[in-house]
Subunit: 362 residues, 2 copies
């Protein structure tokens, strides 16, 4: 992996990544010439016992790009700089212009509930220079590079300090609110372990203390033994619809053996994990022969310097569709109570995805 | 409050409620003549430590009603019976035809994760006989009756046993997936305290043990003292945008003093609570002069027979809009991490709602 670190004129960081040597033709551009000084803050939700982030960004009305303007493709028109320079690279990561969490946050408001600066980091990950591409359609080596990049970002946060948890994710499709279709994801780095990964980590720790086994490793072995919901079983990685799926087309991608973060994976395991990921994505897009929307999230161990043999890095996919033309809306019982209700069995949905043939990656 | 309990031909229960004497013109109808024998089950999500409900209902293809068929209005055409008889009543509650939880659930599948029958109850609450009405547009006495009905249902579950938690809610609007626009809500009764109320109850218990004060009662006093986010302040009840709002137009409705359930409210408090609720709903619908979509959920104390002086019944509203024409999608950080990120301040959204004038209820 080759890298090139740059700084934008407004102070934001940009890293270019490549499978081969990386070059940038010109300095790092930015759609905004001057720093925006984001200053998000956190407020304590006393009934849920969790933090909520607030970032009221001023909308700058002077920047009116043409309708075909795509901030994630390399800059071509000097009047409308994008976020990326032309050059030789495959993947790029830069600080979000409107972050929900920022390293320089300061002076939270004084309220009757606890508040604190919204410290942390929000990054954008551009998967490819090609705006028409899709993650699942990229070459295997490119997907492998992306996993290495996500590991590199996680490692950088771990070394920087002040970050307790890093979550890479992709929102894909208008159905989940995405208006910018250039293939990209995001990375949120939190000053605390957020509620969902905290709950997952507590379960992993509890299982580890009782059995000395990583929980997800045991579950993956059981899923492979059962077989009914398995979508990919490689030498080092798997993709499957979990028996406990909360979304009709939910699927998980994971290495067979526990590893705390993407940064901890060796090259062979990571390559097979890329193969598992790519297989699932091609099944999704092949299911109805159209781009399949989803939320993809990569869960990792907390970044507290400990070893975390109990933690098992994996991706969870939450697609919004129940059937080809019906969305699953999260409503009363899911959002208000937290109990998900499914009108389809994971076994049936897995069978649909198993039936989608995809070419085997070399 | 007047009530009439009936049983449908397929065995499901129906209760009619009225401010005056209740009559049904004919027996309780059902769109399906024979019992459907719903048999939902629960599977344990080992990474989140929570139950997921599965109910794969067979779709009955022989029932093809006309497009204007509305199962929630009183039956008029014997060929297409609805869920309700004609008669004198204001509110009706019946067992959901396709429940996610059912009292008679049995024989869950055997899997490598724990399973159990999906015992519990899913009810539909029809707010009024008028399909064109809206909850906020009903007379104050009618809204008051509805709160009494929700309390009655909660009390019935508490007495029935086997139910640990009852959650009344309303999903309103196509934006949250509602296709049936006759004003109605639902009541889910769970065999366990679901994750969200469990987390809230843990916070309430912790605060009570430390201060001997109910947490939400203290928070409401602080919101009233601050004043910037208050939408209604009556003698016994309030409506406000909480300082810790997770949705742009989130608002809470609660009695000023703690009470564990709707069933525990005296008539004066309940009447003022209805006034607070109706004021908020009219502000919502008045904001953009169109029906305002939302998820409304009524949180109550667990139904374990204890007194729960720490618990404080209240409604939370989660509206899907960020602005008049932009939806807030729950994506990466909200769904995958559980940290909500807001690009608007609660104070600003409260000001918008405060500016909507509504008639004062007698």
């Amino acid at each position: 992996m080759y890298t090139l670190d740059l700084v934008k004129p407004d102070g934001r960081c940009l890293t270019l990544y490549g499978r081969g040597p990386v070059t940038a033709a010109g300095p790092a551009p930015s759609p905004r010439p001057a720093p925006l000084h984001p200053n998000p803050h956190l407020r304590w939700h006393p009934l849920r016992g969790e933090w909520v982030a607030y970032a009221a960004h001023r909308q700058d009305r002077t920047f009116l790009p043409p309708p075909e303007y795509n901030p994630l493709r390399p800059s071509r028109d000097a009047r409308f700089p994008t976020e990326l320079p032309p050059g030789d690279y495959d993947v790029a990561v830069f600080d979000n212009l409107f972050p929900s969490l920022a390293p320089e946050a300061h002076d939270p408001p004084s309220l009757h509930v606890p508040t604190q600066p919204g410290r942390g980091r929000c990054e954008v990950v551009v998967f490819t220079q090609d705006p028409q591409a899709s993650l699942g359609g990229l070459p295997l080596t490119h997907v492998d590079l992306l996993l290495e990049v996500l590991g590199d970002r996680t490692g950088r946060q771990a070394r920087r300090g002040g970050v307790a948890y890093t979550l890479p994710f992709e929102n894909r499709g208008v159905e989940v609110g995405v208006t910018l279709h250039h293939p990209h994801g995001q990375i949120y780095s939190y000053p605390f372990v957020p509620p969902v990964p905290a709950r997952m980590h507590a379960q992993e720790l509890d299982h580890w203390r009782r059995t000395q086994q990583p929980l997800l490793e045991s579950l993956i072995a059981a899923e492979l033994a059962d077989g009914r919901r398995v979508l990919y079983a490689g030498p080092h990685a798997v993709a499957f619809v979990p028996a406990w799926a909360r979304y009709p087309y939910e699927a998980w991608v994971a290495p067979r053996r526990a590893a705390p973060t993407l940064a901890a994976l060796g090259p062979e395991v990571r390559r097979d994990l890329a193969r598992a990921l790519r297989t699932l994505l091609q099944k999704y897009d092949g299911l109805w022969n159209r781009p399949f929307p989803y939320l993809m999230a990569w869960y990792q161990a907390p970044l507290d310097g400990a070893e975390h043999p109990e933690s098992h890095v994996h991706a969870e996919f939450a697609p919004p569709y129940r059937t080809r033309d019906r969305l699953k809306f999260l409503a009363g019982t899911e959002l208000a109570a937290g109990m998900f209700a499914m009108d389809a069995l994971p076994e049936d949905k897995a069978r649909e995805l198993q039936a989608v043939a995809v070419p085997i990656d070399e």
